[in-house]
Symmetry: C2
Subunit: 342 residues, 2 copies
């Protein structure tokens, strides 16, 4: 299996690490030798038809800030060359993990479409491309009988999409409720449990690296809305757009409201829901509610036709967790490609 | 897809109902016409090479107590003829749902082995056969490249086995903790929440049809041990037997202990654990613990290597829930057989 990796931030580096650690296991139990034949980041490119040395790739990134420091390569601005690299390199799968951009989805969308048009499967954690152009991506893939897998985009390590596709055969998902953003869940857990204000909890999350310097994407509910939209479109067959999602974030949750909820044995959580409508808003639920998970956990409840409610809980974020989802997708594509199935 | 159904108790009847309700959907979205060509229960047999009328089969059962009342058939004692029926009938899958027997696994085990030896895939919810003879069943199936699926045996509607096989590719399960028996969980929920004694909560569960007249199988932890064993052997590759499981039930949980736990914001639950050892015992956990689910719910936590802990929560018992698991397995077998994959 020959991979191109585009994007070498937290997730891209974690993916290389997980790949390196599991190389032997992949070869023996899955009969799956994996070669990363090209890596690109925003400042450089490295290519080897026999497969790059993964340790050297990580070393180059940590020492020079780019894959361009890989022996024999130099840093330069490669953005316009990345589609060319994807198109011309002989590979089976593009692993696309450039930053999410929900405005025009670039550069992820062009990378993904270029891969599909040159006959490559795609594994991605890039929410922007899926939010902006899900139908176009599905259509390009369908035309060529290629696979697009995006387990890492929603729920991190929690297999929110594969669960429906592989584990609920014959059963319909009628609705979804989920905690899909670890940052806001951490802040709300602190507010309801320890009596922090929103500002205090946010500052703490930023200090811990759980929240960004500009926290809007998380705390205003946009990240949750994007993930919910990807779920609705991929596992419930909706054709919704981001503008169809009614979004309220958690800035309006006061310390008083959080404390009152806690005193009543309840908690406030930012819940995304797909029913007739698609909404994201802070809701008060009881401590016994399956979605009342603490800290940076994610949780998704599927309301199913034949089997009632099923809830999945696990670590939503983290480079290593998302990398494990990418690896799962790479293995899945390889098995289907080999005609091996499970 | 041609099915033989053996066993027509709560689960068998629910399976027929779910099949009848979803016939059209199966035909259209899965391109899967399903014909039940033979049904057997402990008192009769009905066969039709074109497929039995499912409504008439249910009517026969409710009016005469057996499938033997199906038009053109008569009740008789068919036990020795069922293996012959399985062996000689032209069918793709045996759906085996006779009662669980953990002593010698009969009649389920003979039915399952007969199906495999005559080239039929098996879908079953029969824990007895899997507990007593997992290796023999796997070996018989493996020799002939046949599938044995048993989603309904562990966790009812909750896809405890498929989750690992389909959703955790590339990730290893290092340990399992689970609430696998709804009856004991209901009793413990009542004891910890409402201050009932064990006897009161048990009597209530029996009145509601949640517990059997002879509750030993549930309250002494045997059912949990069987399910845990099936999980350990099937998703963690163990080769354990029932005698390897250290089992303690919930009869020893006093009202005092339950009330003390509740006062401390904790709860007692019957937890099955697979680590170096396999154990079933009542344990005190905090209300925030992911396994602290209420009522007849089931919950399983997988400790995974790459993705941390993942917990699955849903309805474990109930004819309809188990029937949905059987249907899922039938669809899965059909897809693999057709070379279609997901």
């Amino acid at each position: 299996m020959r991979l191109i990796l585009v994007g070498l931030g937290t997730v891209g580096q974690a993916f290389i690490r997980v790949l390196a650690e599991n190389e032997e296991q992949l070869r023996s139990s899955h009969r799956l030798p994996v070669h990363v034949v090209a890596i690109a980041d925003s400042r450089g490119i490295a290519v080897s038809s026999k497969g790059l040395n993964l340790d050297l790739a990580l070393k180059s990134k940590s020492e020079t800030g780019s894959i361009g420091g890989y022996p024999g390569y130099g840093s330069f601005s490669p953005s316009e060359r990345i589609p060319e690299l994807i198109s011309l390199t002989d590979a089976d799968i593009l692993v696309e993990v450039t930053p999410t951009n929900v405005v025009d989805a670039q550069p992820g969308l062009e990378n993904i479409l270029t891969a599909l048009r040159s006959g490559k499967h795609v594994v991605t954690a890039n929410k922007g491309a899926l939010v902006v152009a899900f139908e176009e991506i599905e259509e390009e893939a369908g035309k060529r009988n290629l696979l697009v897998k995006f387990s890492g985009a929603v729920g991190g390590a929690v297999p929110t999409i594969d669960f429906v596709r592989s584990c609920l055969n014959g059963n319909r998902v009628l609705g979804i409720d989920g905690i899909l953003n670890g940052t806001t869940n951490y802040i709300l857990t602190r507010m309801c449990g320890e009596g922090c204000s929103f500002e205090e909890a946010l500052a703490e999350a930023q200090k811990m690296g759980i929240a960004e310097a500009n926290p809007s994407y998380d705390v205003d509910g946009i990240d949750t809305a994007c993930k919910l939209l990807i779920l609705a479109n991929s596992v419930m067959g909706r054709r919704a757009r981001l503008s169809d999602v009614k979004v309220a974030g958690i800035r309006g949750v006061t310390r008083q409201r959080a404390e009152a909820a806690a005193r009543a044995g309840r908690c406030i959580r930012l819940i995304g829901s797909v029913s007739d409508t698609i909404t994201v808003e802070p809701r008060e639920i009881s401590k016994e509610h399956p979605l009342c998970v603490d800290g940076v956990l994610n949780a998704v409840t599927y309301h199913t036709e034949l089997a009632g409610d099923m809830t999945l809980v696990g670590r939503g974020a983290g480079g290593r967790e998302t990398a494990s989802a990418l690896l799962r997708d790479v293995i899945h594509v390889s098995m289907l490609k080999a005609g091996g199935v499970r």
